[in-house]
Each structure stands twice: as structure tokens, then as C-alpha cells.
């Protein structure tokens, strides 16, 4: 059995909004799978239905080959969950929390082992309320691993963390994968999805837009590179330049963006056009397309909008 998760046509409608509008997913064992999308795309609702916290209005969910309706207890024993915000009691210590939650499961990992894994040994006996945001997130991650789960769910594991804390958490996720576990995570950071995920699915408005490997999705774009011209302050009207270049130019914040399949061939023409139109650009740089561009291409919007 190589399938860790199979979802068929799940839907969830709340009184005022359709959160998930019919979704299919398949996650193989041992892979890190990412659910990517802007806030409000339906990622968390999807995850909660899979985790058994929310009942879907329709559709079928099988985890590790088991069905929630018949094998709830068995599923709960074999999965680990990090909620988007893990609200623990203020005056519980990490060691106590790990021991307590471990006691709920037939199979468990030692608190010491987990404290080492998430590097919380020096805070093992501090009250939860005194931990930093990053330390709380790492504790939440350790709690998700307390039963030595085969399948681990991480809902926005790095939201609100500083860059260093994020890197630290990524390392832990990589270690979890190296231990042979399947990881399903949601994020709205493209760099995170690119860095961690073997495969990912992009969601918006409760629907799956596309899925594949990060590289595959980027390469599927016909325009794998982007040239950016940055300005001091507000960029000028790109009209004349666009006419000279004969390519689409989009204004984004304080720069212009020109997608291209072949930057090497484009650059001489672009520089000439800029010269002719007297474009007062400050810098020019070429980057390869990212998942952000994939999302932009699919929805016409930026992920952060």
C-alpha cells in the first residue's frame, strides 16, 4: 500500500461561504505534500476535514487505507497533527505536555527524544506561556510526533516566525521526512513550499487549481524567467517602452515585470528599448520563475493579495 491519503470530492459549505468546493487529492507514503494557496483559499478547512475535526458535507476520505466513519480511533492513533494555532494550558511545561499527550497513545516516543528533535531541551521545564513563538511552534510540532505517527499534518507551521526560526523548523520537517514519515503541510509561502515539498497542490476559492512537483509546475509555465526593472519611487507609464519592445510589461509595486522564455535573447533588445524610451530604471535583474508566478499565471492575482 503506497497511498497515505486519498480524498475524493470533499465539499464543505458554511452558512455564508463555500469553503471547499469538491476536492480530490492523493498523497503517497513518504512524501512531503504541500497545500499552497492564499489566506481563505480553503486549505485549513480541507486539512481539518482530513484530520477528522470537521465533517465534510460530501465526499470520501481515506487515511492509511482507513475510513473516519469506521476507524476513527485507529486513525487518530496513527496520525500526528499540528493545528494552525496550538493553544495549550499556560502553565504546562513542554516535558509535561509531551508526557501527557504521549499517554493518550498505545505507541509513543519519549519526551526526551522529542525535546532533542525540536531543540527544546533547555526549555523543557519552562511554563508554556514563557516560550517564544518559535519555541511554541516547535513544541506543537513535537506534540504532533508524540505517537510516532506514520502521517503528520502541519497547518501553516511557520506563520508568524522570524526567518531564522523558519529555517530551524524546515530542518525539523526534513528530519521528519528522513525518518520515513509522510508529511502534509499547508503554507502560503512559496519559498517554503519549494524548499520542503516533493509535490504540491495549489488551491484557491475552495478548488484545486493544479498539482505537481515544484519544478514541474514552474517548468510547465511557458515563461520560466522574469526580467525586473526597478525604479526609485513610482515606476513611470510603461506604454512607450512596451510598444518598442513588443512584449507584455506589468507594473508591480516599484518595478516592471517582463516574463520571457529566453532572457539571453531578450536582454539586448530590452536594453536598447530602455535607452530609446529613456526609461529611468535604477536596476535590472533576471530571475527564474517561482511558484508565485505559477499562482499569478493561474489566478491573475498574487498569493499575498
Amino acid at each position: 500500500m503506497t497511498e497515505a491519503l486519498r480524498v475524493r470530492g470533499i465539499r464543505k459549505t458554511y452558512p455564508k461561504v463555500v469553503a471547499v468546493a469538491g476536492l480530490d487529492l492523493e498523497v503517497r507514503r513518504g512524501e512531503v505534500f504541500g497545500l499552497l494557496g492564499p489566506n481563505g483559499a480553503g486549505k485549513t478547512t480541507t486539512l481539518e476535514m482530513i484530520e477528522g475535526l470537521t465533517e465534510p458535507d460530501a465526499g470520501e476520505i481515506r487515511l492509511l487505507g482507513l475510513d473516519w466513519r469506521r476507524h476513527g480511533r485507529a486513525i487518530r492513533s496513527r496520525i500526528g497533527v499540528q493545528l494552525q494555532s496550538t493553544s495549550l494550558f499556560n502553565k504546562i511545561t513542554p516535558r509535561e505536555a509531551l508526557t501527557l499527550y504521549g499517554s493518550y497513545y498505545p505507541k509513543r516516543r519519549s519526551a526526551e527524544d522529542l525535546l532533542d528533535l525540536v531543540q527544546l531541551r533547555d526549555k523543557a521545564d519552562a511554563y508554556h506561556i514563557t516560550l517564544s513563538g518559535g519555541q511554541m511552534q516547535r513544541l506543537a510540532l513535537a506534540l504532533a510526533l508524540v505517537n510516532d505517527p506514520e502521517l503528520v499534518f502541519l497547518d501553516e507551521p511557520t506563520t508568524g516566525l522570524d526567518p531564522q526560526a523558519r529555517r530551524g523548523l524546515w530542518d525539523v520537517v526534513r528530519r521528519i521526512k528522513a525518518e520515513g514519515r509522510t508529511v502534509i503541510l499547508t503554507t502560503h509561502y512559496m519559498d517554503e513550499a519549494e524548499a520542503l515539498c516533493d509535490r504540491l497542490a495549489i488551491m484557491d476559492h475552495g478548488l484545486l487549481l493544479t498539482e505537481g512537483t515544484p519544478m514541474g509546475l514552474i517548468q510547465a509555465l511557458a515563461i520560466p524567467s522574469v526580467v525586473e526593472l526597478t525604479f526609485d519611487g513610482v515606476p513611470p507609464d510603461p506604454g512607450p517602452f512596451r510598444a518598442l519592445l513588443g512584449l507584455p510589461v506589468t507594473v508591480r509595486g516599484d518595478f516592471w515585470e517582463i516574463p520571457t522564455p529566453d532572457p539571453k535573447a531578450l536582454l539586448p533588445d530590452l536594453l536598447e528599448a530602455a535607452e530609446t524610451a529613456a526609461v529611468p530604471y535604477k536596476q535590472i535583474h533576471v530571475r527564474r520563475a517561482t511558484l508565485e508566478d505559477v499562482f499569478l499565471h493561474l489566478t491573475g492575482r498574487s498569493l499575498r493579495d
Binding site: E51, R76, T86, F89, Y105
Partner: protein, 351 residues
Amino acid sequence: MLLLRQFVMEWKLFSRDRAAMFWTFAFPMLLLMGFGTIFRSGSAPAFTLVVSGDVRATRTGRDLLAALEPTPVKLLELSAQAAGERWHKGETAAQLEPAGDGFAVKVNTYLAAQGQMAAQIAQQANLAVQLRHGGTEPTWIPVTMESPGHAHASNYAAFLLPGLLAVNLMSMGLFSVGMVNVSYREKGKFRRLAVTPLPKWVFLLGQILHRLTVTFLQSALMLLLGFLAFGIGNQGSYWMLAGVMALGTGCFMAMGFALAGFAQTSEGYAAISNALFFPMMLLSGVYFTLDSAPRWMQQAVIVLPLSPYLKALRAVFNDGAGLAGHGAGLAIVAAWTAVCFAVALKRFKWA
């Protein structure tokens, strides 16, 4: 101008808090309307004086009852035996009985406020009768304080202690236990448990056991303080006392958990629990009698758990009596406990 804007903003925020609006304006009015309607009944007397045995056998007795007729005291004439039974059930606030040549009045310690009032009126009527007959030095009716179990204590505080323990227990169950659960659920503190295989009943029973031991410790401290500071002691068996208290704790804790299952928010819970707490406390007949309430209400409130529970507690603690006469009452408390726990288990949600 700044002050005005601040003032208006305070009003706006206040008026948008629906729970605050309800408690500030609607609830007191509902309470007034409710109790006003129940206890209206025209010029009906507020105090019942039980007249035990053959007071009417003597002329002074007949004169005294005649003198009491126009006062706000309602006379209830019973045979000595019937009066004794009523007294024992704790429903009588004050009782007039023949004693030697004259009379005596017994006031129920637990219903002292109403009882004393009736006793005073009887006293005045007695003086009026003597004044009419003239000549002699006026005599007073001796008034004694006594519990339904015929216990006299030198210390009135002794009679307050079980009542205090009971109200404490009820408020702990209805307010703190339930409220803590609703607010924890609201803050998502239970969601993390929902994804574990921990069974709900283990979680609920664990909490109840914790609260049970907390209450025991708390009650033990109060009993100890009562003993050390006022010399108040338990007159009955400590095992019975512990048993009755454990049952009461279980009952009110389970009630708190059950109510918590019906409230979405802590504001909502405050509304539900208050709406239950005050009627239970005021209508259970343990702090004042419901003599002037309509008959149907007097019969309906019998099923409330506070009254039988407190009666059993007082019987053991103050009267040193057994629980022989309290079987039916304690069965009511046990039934409430079972129903509330079942409802709590059924309604309990992690999130």
C-alpha cells in the same frame, strides 16, 4: 468635545455587547416580573404561624388567636402531631404552642428572618390581649430557636455553615466548572485533544474527580476553620457528611458540564448559568419558605436538587441525625447527577 466623544463611544460599545445589555436591563426586569407575579396574590399574608395543638382550649388562647386574626400573620392550626411532622420537614418558620398556663413560640433556625417576624407579631398580639384584660403585670411568650431536627446550638453560625457549603458548591459547579470549560473550548484549548484518541468520558470524569477533591479540600478547610474559630462541630457521622457532600458535588459539577454543552460562548454561558442559579437558590425554600407562593410552585420546586441536598446536609451536620428520612430527597439529587452527566457526555464537544 473629547469627553463627549469618549462618552458616546463607551455607550456604543456597551450597547453592542448583547450579553451585557441583557444582564443590565432585561434580566433584573424579568426577575422583578417573575417574582412579582409569583408572590403578588393581593393582600395575602407573608408569614405563616403554625398553631400546634389545643391552643383554643383556653380562653386566653382563643383571645390570642382572635387578636392575631387582623395581623399579616396567617394562622395554620394543626394537631400537635401534624404540626410536629411539618416542623420536622423544615417547612415551618415559626410555631405557637401551649406551655403551662401560657404559650411558647419556636422559631426555625434556618428560616430565622421570617420566623422572628411571626414571633414578634405573636408577642405584640399577646401584649394587646393582656392590656385588654388589664391589671396584671404583662408576661412575655418565651421564644426559642430550634432546627427541624430539634437541635439547639449556642452558636447561630453553626446553622449557617451547611448552607454556606451548599451554595458554595452550587456556585462552583454552575459558575466556575462550566465557565472554565466553555472558555477553554472557545479559546481552542480542547481542539488539540480532539485529534488524539483520548475518550471524552475519561476527560470529563477526570475533571469531575479533580473538582470533587478540590471541593472536599475546600469544605474541609471551612469545617476546620468553623471549629477552630467558632467551636462549630459536625453533630453527625463524618462518613454520612462526606457521602452527602460527594453526591452534591457530583450533582452540581455534572450540571455545570451539561450546561457548558449548550453554550457557544462564555457570555452565553453566563446568561444560562445565572438564569438557573438564582431561581434555584431563591425558590428551593431553603433560605425562606414559599408559604405565599402559589400552590403549584410549592409543589414544582420539590424536584429542584438544592433543597433535598441541603436538608440532608443540615440533618447530619446540625441535628446529628441519620439519613433515614432523606432517601427520597437524595434519590432526586442522584437522578439529577445521572441525567446531567449523561447530557454532558452527549453534548460535549472538543471544539
